[in-house]
Symmetry: C2
């Protein structure tokens, strides 16, 4: 008697959440220090002091002002601050009117899909991909079209994308730095993608949008450059969140940017406002709109993630695991030691290693290891990964 | 090239928002003290000191804990605290597992509709009604069926509801204390409604739910009793928000309660979780989940609203306006001085009075006056209402 699709979505928890719940129970049983939980993307680095300082300052202001409704697209001050910050960093010319504040990246993407898509329209995702993309696309009555990345490097396969674009393609969702692979798309590939999409736009006579999901924009290592996609392809909507860069995942604060150069920009922006309204959003949390206004240029501290990445990647490589060297985000993508990633993940559990099988992300044979954890978890896990490897080696003899 | 329905929702702002925007511009022109803006439901009473104290305490805790993801249905602590508070006040036996924390009442209702409704199902609303109900119902592919309240008292017309129930009726949305009329439904009427719905359930062989939208539950005057509807009708989902009772409208924090006695309660709860996921919600803002845990029993201060209500209602009645005496919420519902409420609202504007025409709420000939304002606005407005009355009287001579 309830909506069957909603019931199924709610009663079949994601593999990630299920593994996380298993980990919590297991930690109760054998002690937290004996379980190596790499299941989630919950930042291990604390929010910067500047966030606390901003919140404390705001709480001293008149409460009606701090906690009142803002206009649905967000308070003018924070939208202006974000526009100025983007303009300063990327040489753009955005204004507050191009920004719509949201309750985090999930809301940003869900709203963007609903704003653009009519039932039957196609949204392309690059496998492996964040599994909720499919949920939001299908909830809008649209079709989720999976196009694989290049297995090995997990970079864009632009020919495959070109081949998969049809007359019904409304948008392609890209995510760089990537969850789950840690890949960062180089500018040259994004330029090629832009040219491909422009050709297809000409062929079909209507715009094809890029939805750039970029909560990890600031989380990169070494001299990796993260291109700002709207400067390469005009029809790009940016979906951002401060969950990772400012370690505020629970506060649900982010935005959609509709660049003025995008095709039908005014209509798209209006549709974004309409989709927010239709889905039940009213405004982004007011206190954290104020915090972001004050913290928009606070740098993201990636030192701990870099150290984790180096320790984990080098450790696993030395043990003989095939890993993608993460250029950004805080996930390491590793080939399972048997073709069935779920079976591999189950065997890893016996060694108290919690890693997410790639099936959740739309491909087979790999696992995601979230290294946004205390360093001790990595140091403790490496001997367990060694034992797991020995177990597989012994069997293959 | 965008979703046409979303474009329309986003580009045609609600009458309320439009009036509010007009008021802001007008205040710039002639000074804020000369504009009597009754358009919004933004609480004029500040959040209680306890809210600030709770937020300050939380901000001293480790940041990962304060700002991290919670489980999708909310942190166990706040859900337990709310369950215990409800049990204490209403003699119920709820537990944390019956509660799903949301980003405010709009999210609560949107999620409940999506959880229950399949395309083509009917949701009944009692006119006049909060206009976004229709938006959320139609966004779920369902049908919004308007049933009028009894004109004059604006109490439930239970015969009309009975006549309008069909085999496709999935739920009836009730809102007491009511926005926009200020009416509170007496327990005897709710018992009669419950009996009617039970009869209809038997007739059609499936449950019919009540969705009780009750952000104004604590905002009542005199000895008015607000019945707790799940204790009268088992198939009731409660959609609550702290926007009004704790003056936190911008922070977006509320819940859905699925009582264990409701038909298919476990399935409904799972579908609520699924609908939250499908619409792009991840969790309610973490800091304010913590604030609510600490403030769940902080009393709502209605003194200022009561004084406003008395001054406004007595003042308007003395001038000869026909008003519904508000029993709760902070809206006064007044008959327009001509059948066309929009025309009346336009003429009120000439006297700098901003009142919302009833057409937005699904009936003709009345206006909503939101008295969650500074007392000075009411004192300044009464002479303007007097002048408006004289203008109409002069014309009818």
């Amino acid at each position: 008697m309830v909506n069957q699709r909603m019931y199924e979505l709610g009663s079949e928890p994601s593999a990630i959440r299920e593994l996380f719940a298993y980990g919590l129970a297991r930690k109760e049983e054998i002690g937290a220090e004996n379980v190596f939980d790499f299941s989630l993307g919950n930042p291990s680095v604390a929010a910067p002091e500047a966030v606390k300082k901003a919140a404390l300052e705001l709480l001293e202001m008149p409460a009606q002002q701090v906690h009142g409704y803002t206009p649905a697209p967000g308070a003018p001050g924070v939208r202006r601050a974000i526009a100025e910050s983007l303009n300063h960093r990327f040489g753009t010319a955005y204004s507050a009117e191009n920004l719509y504040m949201t309750v985090g990246a999930a809301a940003s993407i869900s709203i963007s899909i609903n704003a653009l898509g009519a039932p039957g329209d196609e949204f392309m995702v690059i496998a492996p991909y964040f599994p909720e993309y499919r949920v939001w696309i299908e909830n809008a009555g649209c079709v989720c079209v999976e196009t694989p990345a290049r297995i090995g490097s997990f970079q864009l396969d632009i020919q495959a994308i070109e081949d998969a674009v049809t007359e019904r393609t409304k948008a392609v969702i890209v995510n760089s730095p990537n969850n789950p692979t840690g890949a960062v798309y180089p500018e040259c590939d994004l330029v090629e993608l832009a040219n491909t999409l422009r050709r297809k736009q000409d062929e079909y006579g209507h715009p094809i949008y890029l939805i750039s999901d970029e909560p990890y924009r600031e989380i990169v290592y070494g001299d990796t450059n993260v291109a700002f996609i709207p400067t390469l392809f005009e029809n790009t909507l940016v979906c951002y969140s401060y969950s990772k860069s400012l370690s505020l995942p629970g506060e649900r604060i982010g935005y959609v940017l509709v660049p003025p150069a995008a095709a039908d920009a005014a209509d798209v922006y209006a549709a974004v406002c309409g989709a927010g309204r239709a889905l039940g959003y009213v405004c982004a949390p007011t206190l954290f709109q104020g915090v972001i206004e004050k913290c928009v240029d606070v740098p993201c501290n990636v030192d701990a993630y870099r150290e984790n990445r180096d320790a984990l990647y080098n450790g696993l490589a030395k043990l003989g695991y095939e890993c993608v060297a993460p250029q950004g985000a805080f996930y390491l993508w590793m080939r399972a030691l048997e073709p069935d990633a779920k079976a591999f993940s189950e065997r890893a559990k016996k060694h108290e290693l919690l890693v997410v099988p790639s099936d959740s992300f739309g491909i087979e044979g790999w696992v995601r290891i979230g290294y946004c954890v205390d360093r001790a978890v990595i140091d403790g896990a490496l001997p367990a990964f060694a034992a797991l490897m020995r177990e597989y080696q012994a069997e293959s003899l």
